[in-house]
Amino acid sequence: MASKILKIAPLEAQNQIELSLRQALELLEPQLRPPFPLTIPTPEEYSQLNWAILYGVLCEPHFAKIQIKYLHAVVTDGYCFFVNLLTTIVDELYSKLVKSARIQLISLVSEMIYVSAVGIDGLLASLLRQIVGGDFSDGNLWLCFELVSLFLCKWNWLVEEEPQVLRNGLHTYLRVLSDHCRFSGDSKLEALRRIEIEFCIKVLREQFHLCLRIGRDLIRLLQDLVHVPEFRAVWKDLVLNPGEFKTQEFEDISQLYRQRTSSRYFLLRITPEMESQLRFLLTHVKLGSQKRHQAWFLRKFLSGSERETLIIDIVRFICCGHHPSNDIIQSDVIPRWAVIGWLLKSCRKSYVEANVKLALFYDWLFFDERIDNIMNVEPAMLLMVNSIPKYVAMTHTLLEFLLLLVDNFDSERKDIIVKGVASSFGMLARKGVVGSIHVLTSCDALSPPHKEWLGRCFESWSFYRIAASPSS
């Protein structure tokens, strides 16, 4: 049976959610036109009513106004059930929704903001997750435009009621701007770029105290936009005039370095479907048998050269958003470092590769064992160590990059970064993630300057001496 709201391929199983929605509408359609029944619905009837109204709005735009009015009349739970249903549809079906249903969905979201519906923050987060890095399709750009317009339109509500949504929005739009600003000649992107910049600058300049909570990834995202005049000005102020942000507690950029970014932001940048596939790969697929799953993943999410920037988000997620249990780590399931190695090798563009390496090492730069998690830094270490000797070029390129980072990331605050990197190495050695750093410093294929730098790094922090005896 053809679907009214979904793009269904031939021979695809009927979607269960859509089936329930359609059945509810078929059952209750007569009730959804005036005169409306005045009886109070039972809980079961209430659910059915929500399903029917939602489906009706999504597939019959001309009746939507009446049906929404009815929802407003019968609601008893602050729209919680309705919004949860909408969120489920976004998480599981957004990519399959036809254009008209997506348009209706956005108008429903706007309506739910208007009534301050319970769970609206979750719904908006789910929608932001559907904005995909590296995706320049009309559908994705349309969603970017609709959501940022909504945020600007509902600015006061966001500031007063939903600061986390504001943070989520800033994180998302700084990220996609890095894609959208890369192709400055494209007129299709011009209007979108302008409004996205307007939103981000407004958040940064007017609500900086809210931005602080994002933590160190805010810096990583801003650095990629330094070539854009509005952001260059923000950057200058961050580094030289922190007072410009009129936030009492913000005195120096290093405060942002020291704030770990919550894993919620790394989830924001991948869709639920990518998340399930990545988690499946890292939980159920054995090392040695991963080739077919990897090929399918590449074909589905990374085909097309402009798509590559998504790899940066995926690596950030793997390091900080997916921490396997000890059982999995000790089993023969493909480890995170191997998946990251594969993703790194899939990069064709050098600026993407550099950003992926930065994503991999980012938490090393400011590692503080009191607040940081060793699981965020473990994959980089294991990738370096396990690439010796067969793929030692990988170890070499990673160490070289790390060295470059330490020297150039923030030359004014190099001491913080050296301390961070040394703490990472030290903790990794102490916790037995590697036998000792000796495995790196004694590797013949590494250049003497690299080995010397490593040696100096540890001596200055004594971790080299604390580390266990060298592995073979």
């Binding site: 391929a9 021979l11 199983a13 596939q277 159920h284 080739k291 799953h293 074909r299 589905k300």
Partner: protein, 137 residues
């Protein structure tokens, strides 16, 4: 529901199972119909699946398929799983299925059971892996 390793060739539409498509061969024309051979697998075994008509275009590697009333039998000299005229296939998901590529049920020689000639039993392994779709190194 039967797992792939428990299938036995029979001239009956008695196979209800679920599997993931690993690889697809070229589509050829058999009279008026399109057909194409695929390597499919579940957690227990792999087998060659013969896709017919629209199935050839619509399904691809990574698709998880549900088969109802399928048939596992000799089609010319090939032992294949297929929907057949009475069976139905449907895509029910993607990616999230672990699988093995050995044993391959199509690469096994079957002989009639000496005790019950109407049934087949395994006689010998022709090849542990598919000879048509070798494992990806």
């Amino acid at each position: 529901m039967v797992t792939l390793k428990d299938m036995v060739p029979a001239a009956q539409n008695n196979i209800n199972t679920q599997f993931i498509i690993l690889d697809k061969g070229k589509t050829t024309l058999a009279g008026d119909y399109k057909k194409c051979l695929a390597l499919v697998a579940d957690e227990t075994a792999a087998v060659h699946f013969e896709l017919w008509g629209d199935e050839c275009d619509v399904f691809d590697g990574g698709d998880i398929i549900s088969l109802v009333d399928g048939i596992f039998s000799y089609n010319r000299k090939n032992l294949v799983l297929r929907a057949g005229k009475k069976g139905k296939v449907e895509k029910v998901g993607e990616f999230c299925m672990a699988f093995v590529e050995t044993p391959n049920m199509s690469e096994i020689r079957w002989i009639p059971d000496p005790n019950n000639p109407k049934k087949y039993v395994q006689d010998a392994v022709i090849s542990p892996y598919s000879l048509i779709f070798p494992p990806v190194p």
